[in-house]
């Protein structure tokens, strides 16, 4: 009973809540980091150094009037934010935050579940997330959101191909689709896959920037071009859901990047006995630190780079990233067959 | 009350028939295409149910092929719809009576 029901439920609750809190504090982190990059202070008023800002934002957004345009497709309009939020959350089911640890006299795995198609599960669930954006644009029955959602869907589908191809290179290295096995494979290979698959890693980062609609690929919500992108007509909590989904997706891709390319929960040099003293730090801390580095990278890029144009984005995706990813895959395969 | 392949077959048959009705009754070619997808799914359910029953993975292999064919069919079919729509400004199957224009 405890093992089959209570512990999984507890894990789900903890992960879900941690994610939602993490997501809301991502907004604060982003505002703070960008502010520092731009020689500003960022939010300072709510709480010391503005640490309570996400709570104030949430209260504000909940209290705001929730407007549905009169010509909108009401059901779809309501469903769209939910559709974009749900995939972002259910992906966490397979992300390993740590190995199986001994907790209160019981073996507890620091992941919700470990399915043998874990990586494919993530890809497929992420591919459903695109519906939220398309439907938001369609249901608003307004031109700017429609343009934005067409852009978004084209962008997501294009970059998904490149990202998935890089994942295949990693699968070739690990020989498994299970997220836990991929981390263990990195332990056994004595090296993080990020160092043996640098090309795949770079493409993955670029592709995931595009898939999460982050600068410099934030065309679907390019404020300067399409006013607000696909969520122009949204307000209040529904609007907030789109934002939460975007940040949740950022955390997802950071976690996936950490797991696939930077050894997941493993400490640096996991096989070097001399660094054994690092084991006092719990494994999940390493996971969080590495994910945080990626999140910071995302914010940093946003503060630095201008935005791509739609056609340039497509050209980059189809004419650069996908061929390079395929080439990388072929080379990985050949090397794997020849040397191993 | 065990669930036998017969149950899956009946489910698959029902889905198949819904698809057939969609193809025959609706005039919107996009809906017709979607009905064809339903039919293909009905076939896949059968294949996988038998694959499970016989502990033979070949059924799944064929389901993969079916999905590949469905993808190809959707791509070309929707391309035709777009080209047709551009010329006739309609997606009514009854108006699709020319082999070329």
């Amino acid at each position: 009973m405890i093992d089959t029901f209570i512990i999984p439920t507890l894990k789900i609750l903890i992960v879900l809540n941690a994610t939602l809190v993490g997501v809301s504090y991502m907004t604060l982190l982003e505002r703070k980091v960008i502010a520092w990059a731009q020689s500003r202070l960022g939010p300072m008023r709510v709480g010391p150094q503005g640490v309570l800002q996400p709570i104030a934002d949430a209260v504000k957004l909940i209290l705001k009037e929730d407007i549905t345009p009169s010509k909108a497709d009401k059901w779809v309009f309501t469903a769209a934010p939910v559709i974009s939020m749900v995939p972002a959350l259910i992906v966490y089911a397979v992300i390993p935050f740590g190995p199986v640890v001994r907790l209160f006299g019981r073996d507890v795995s620091l992941y919700i579940t470990d399915v043998n198609v874990g990586l494919l599960y993530i890809v497929s669930v992420a591919s459903v997330g695109v519906y939220g954006i398309i439907l938001a644009g369609y249901a608003s029955n307004s031109k700017f959101p429609l343009l934005a959602s067409l852009r978004a869907s084209a962008q997501l589908i294009s970059y998904e191909v490149a990202v998935t191809l890089t994942l295949v290179s990693v699968i070739l290295m690990s020989g498994s689709l299970s997220m836990v096995s991929i981390v263990n494979a990195q332990y056994n290979a004595h090296v993080w896959f990020g160092f043996v698959q640098p090309v795949a890693f770079v493409i993955f980062v670029i592709g995931s920037l595009a898939e999460t609609n982050r600068a410099p690929f934030d065309l679907p919500e390019a404020e300067q071009e399409l006013t607000g992108g696909f969520h122009t007509e949204y307000s209040g909590m529904r609007f907030a859901l789109f934002f939460l989904a975007e940040y949740a997706n950022m955390i997802v891709v950071s976690s996936v990047a950490t797991t696939l390319f930077f050894g997941g929960w493993l400490r640096p040099f996991p096989n070097v006995a001399a660094l054994h003293f690092l084991d006092v730090i719990p494994s999940w801390t390493w996971f969080l630190i590495k994910s945080f580095v990626f999140l910071y990278l995302f914010i940093w890029i946003r503060a630095t780079l201008p935005r791509y144009r739609y056609d340039q984005l497509m050209r980059l995706g189809w004419k650069v990233l996908i061929p390079v990813a395929i080439l990388n895959l072929v080379v990985t395969g050949i090397v794997k067959v020849m040397l191993l | 009350m065990p669930i036998t392949p017969t149950h899956y077959m009946l489910l698959s048959a029902a889905l198949f028939i819904i698809g057939v009705i969609g193809v025959m009754v609706r005039r919107n070619i996009i809906i017709i295409f979607m009905s064809i997808e339903l039919i293909l799914n009905a076939v896949n359910i059968n294949l996988i149910a038998f694959s499970d029953q016989l502990h033979n993975v070949i059924g799944q292999v064929f389901a993969v092929f079916v999905i590949a064919v469905a993808a190809a069919e959707a791509a070309v079919g929707l391309g035709i719809i777009l080209a047709f729509y551009r010329n006739k400004e309609s997606v009514n199957i009854d108006e699709m009576n020319l082999m070329r224009w």
Partner: protein
């Protein structure tokens, strides 16, 4: 028992959404019901020990093909619903008749299947079902290599065909 409940629930959802797909007036809603239908079919695959197929179903069908449908529906936004032309129910009788014929045929197969003794009880290749991703992959690249290559050629041709058809000026 749990198995039965799961099956009947999923079956109800699959058939219910399938009916909605073919009956809904608004094409976009129809597409959405199709997605939901596919997701429940994927759940059914999980029940049938085919997690790989389930994931492929979601990835290719829900995440790929149906997005394409939605795209086209949005592009081909209709000023007049196609059913408004001529007699909308012109083919209805024929359609239901044909569907009924198929139903009878399938029913006959099922019934005749019950009449005979269960022929196949001992599987020919008793492969372990767990980890079937590997098996599917193995079969695809060995026994079914040529069909697999043909399928990939088919996809390539379809891709080129779609581009040629949909692009206005090449």
């Amino acid at each position: 028992m749990a198995h039965a409940i799961a099956f009947y629930t999923l079956a109800a959802f699959i058939l219910g959404f399938a009916i909605l797909v073919v009956t809904t007036k608004d094409t976009v809603h129809s597409v959405l019901f199709l997605v939901l239908d596919f997701l429940f079919v994927a759940a059914l695959y999980v029940m049938l020990n085919a997690p790989f197929l389930a994931v492929i179903q979601v990835l290719v069908y829900a995440g790929g093909i149906v997005v394409l449908y939605l795209f086209v529906v949005m592009l081909v936004n209709l000023k007049r619903p196609p059913e408004a032309h001529s007699d909308p129910h012109r083919m209805t009788k024929f359609g239901f008749g044909l569907a009924g014929a198929v139903l009878i045929e399938l029913g006959a197969i099922v019934v005749s299947g019950y009449m005979k003794a269960p022929a196949v009880t001992s599987p020919a290749q008793n492969l372990p079902v767990s980890g079937n991703t590997e098996q599917v992959g193995w079969l695809l690249y060995t026994n079914y290599l040529i069909p697999f290559e043909i399928a990939s050629m088919l996809l390539l041709v379809a891709m080129i065909g779609a581009i040629v058809l949909a692009k206005r000026e090449l």
